[in-house]
Symmetry: C2
Subunit: 427 residues, 2 copies
């Protein structure tokens, strides 16, 4: 009779309860696949008395997650509390120090402390698995580190915050302004306690930082990422983009260039008919590009009880089966410190300006752009609104620096009212 | 210095040459990821003198793949010859008997002999990996057996023959009949030597049989599959389907039902706006549905040197890293013999009939369908062609048996000219 693998689960929110359900309801299937039983020894959460819709009486209770993580009857510490520091990190460190493997859904903890934790895990001969931290149920960390291990990865792109994608598609489909849909999402409980984590692009940025590390063999470096949220995306831009065959998505892109590693999270225009452009509501999508495999697209639910618990269980099953990789796919000591490159890979840009209704205004703007070296692919002036004329411009491929130079030259033309909107187009 | 893992590669066609290229060109990257060098000891192919665009002088040559597979300096036998029986199977068996692991792209060999080979591999303490056999570069076997290991899989669907999807999308986009596009594809070298393997649905059927086994923990059973090819798909049906918002795809579906395991490969209508409906040309797509994760969609190149070599290398890297699973994800002895169920899961169907232009013809057909218990969702009669009137019917959900009963009753109505076309609609 093979030994069971014994879990200690800290955090019994939606995901934690989902993991307990799977372990209880699918015991025979899990055992057949793993070749050994999956058992739960102990659980921990802030409030012992809350009804979580799943019986917990069979398991020891620990108030203190550090105690849970170091119990003698725990083989794998399942960290589902969240938070970059504090109890999650303390318990993870304690678990590794006590010789436990760790499975976590905690993107913030790993995006900010991943290298140190990976080094600690490897020194202890243990691993940390984090499939659930990125794109919910989509097995993208596994695809990158294992399935595509024969590829030099060239680019990773993803829509990885379901709440932002919900807000953007709802704005488009209902024709509502950002503020209204933000309030709707808030009432529906879709937003984090600090909504900036979602709409500010930080949560998605944490995920992208982890993917960049496993894709490029580099030390996770969240601080180097350029991040813009969706707070300033207007219904007007969504409409104009749609008119030109694009949709606006909060898109993360990690790309290795001759100058170093570019990582950016920002609202971008993508072709409406592309896989990324067709993504509705809270669904996530990750696009992986490798030198041998070409382009692989993965799509699925990015959050929620079942999908996230599925990812946690995938990691648990790997450990139960003895499938153990270094935390970021290769030994932490071999991960390079990436040269962070500012986002200078050329791309076309979408610009929306309000021009004062003066003779020669358009010519002045075009001249300023030309002087900055930015050439115009398409331009159109829409109906006047009062004394200003909205103008839309799609540039040819240009660098962000050159575009910034053009934008910086606009005030001196004396014809550009308001701050122009500029969004990258990712084809 | 860790020991290299040493490959013996049999078959140096496109894929074999691609594998050699990756091992040569990415040696440092592969070693960093695997923690040990990936080396090639020996190769084998039918013709030693052919230029394959990659230097082979560093490797021993074997004319006989069985000799290659059993060489003392080979740890992993990489079988890229193809063929269900014959040299591929003999060499695979010899490799296992000699204690080697096997990596193969050979769907036919495993679809027809998978259970016996899995049992032999496990008795020898070895494994056979076959990611490259299914959907080219898409890591779908890994996603099913590992990433989604916590899920009870409910349904697997896929478009997995790029040639068929090329033919169907080319027919639609160019408005050309099947025969013309088939000839085009033949001239372009897209078809197997025996084209029935492609257009008859057999190649895709082999792939589906393997996915069904890993998805449901059942013994691979190609003989139980219901297979229809695309040979009878007409441009008329493609046009009519498009008019109603559908596209026709050669779709494989494996589904566990209360009556047993349904596996079928057939031309189906799918919504044009769904991920499957949006698939163009030779791209492959697999849709996985699990009880916890919901729906995961994987998309990528299904054939070609790079994508298939990428999948082979993923398996090689797993073995080099010591990530070893049983052949079909769980021990061969625990795989159930599935009860093969005829495809009776209810679905809507598309019917195209030619009705003789007689009074009351439509009523007679509708009555025959009603008597068979098939109810009509939508019906339309298009412009007359001579004395016959083409009629399109979309049924409500019905079983294949009831539909067959309705079709069987048509001749007695005396108003149905020609054989009706019936295609399942998969939503």
């Amino acid at each position: 009779m093979p030994e069971p693998i014994r879990l200690g689960i800290a955090g019994l929110g939606t995901v934690g309860a989902g993991v307990v359900k799977i372990v209880r309801q699918q015991a025979a299937m899990l055992e057949a696949r793993a070749g050994r039983p999956i058992a739960i020894s102990a659980v921990s959460a802030r409030n012992r008395d809350k009804d979580r819709g799943v019986p917990l009486g069979d398991y020891a209770w620990e108030d203190d997650p550090v105690k849970l993580a170091t119990r003698a009857d725990v083989d794998v510490f399942v960290e589902l509390m969240g938070g970059a520091d504090g109890p999650a990190k303390a318990a993870t460190e304690a678990a590794l120090a006590a010789g436990k493997d760790v499975v976590t859904a905690n993107k913030a903890m790993l995006a900010l402390n991943g290298q140190a934790l990976a080094e600690q895990a490897e020194a202890a001969g243990r691993t940390i698995r984090f499939e659930a931290a990125v794109a919910g149920g989509i097995p993208v960390v596994k695809a990158l580190t294992e399935g595509l291990a024969g590829n030099e990865i060239q680019r990773v792109m993803g829509v990885m915050n379901g709440t932002c994608n919900y807000i953007l598609t709802r704005m488009e489909n209902a024709g509502l302004p950002y503020e209204t849909v933000f309030e709707e999402a808030n009432k529906l409980g879709y937003l984090e306690a600090d909504p900036t984590l979602d709409v500010g692009g930080i949560d998605a940025g944490h995920k992208l930082a982890l993917l960049a590390s496993v894709a490029f063999g580099t030390q996770v470096d969240f601080a180097a990422m350029q991040i813009d949220g969706i707070e300033r995306v207007s219904i007007e831009d969504i409409r104009q983009a749609a008119d030109m065959g694009y949709r606006i998505k909060l898109l993360g892109v990690a790309q290795m260039t001759a100058r170093g590693l570019e990582t950016r999270m920002s609202p971008c225009l993508v072709p409406a008919t592309s896989p990324l452009g067709s993504l509705e509501n809270a669904t996530n999508m990750v696009v992986l590009e490798g030198d041998a495999v070409g382009q692989i697209v993965l799509r699925g639910a990015g959050a929620g009880e079942g999908p996230t618990a599925s990812a946690v269980m995938g990691d648990v099953m790997d450990i139960a089966r003895g499938l153990r990789l270094p935390v970021f796919g290769q030994p932490a000591a071999t991960l390079r410190k990436a040269q962070a490159a500012s986002a200078r890979t050329p791309a076309p840009y979408y610009l929306r300006l309000n021009l004062q209704d003066k003779p020669g205004a358009l010519a002045k703007v075009a001249a300023a752009m030309g002087e900055a070296g930015v050439s115009i692919d398409r331009m159109r002036q829409t109906q006047h609104e009062g004394t200003n004329a909205p103008v839309l411009i799609v540039t040819h491929k240009t660098t962000r620096d050159m575009l910034e130079a053009a934008l910086a030259a606009f005030p001196a033309t004396g014809v550009v009212a308001d701050e122009p909107v500029s969004l990258r187009i990712e084809n």
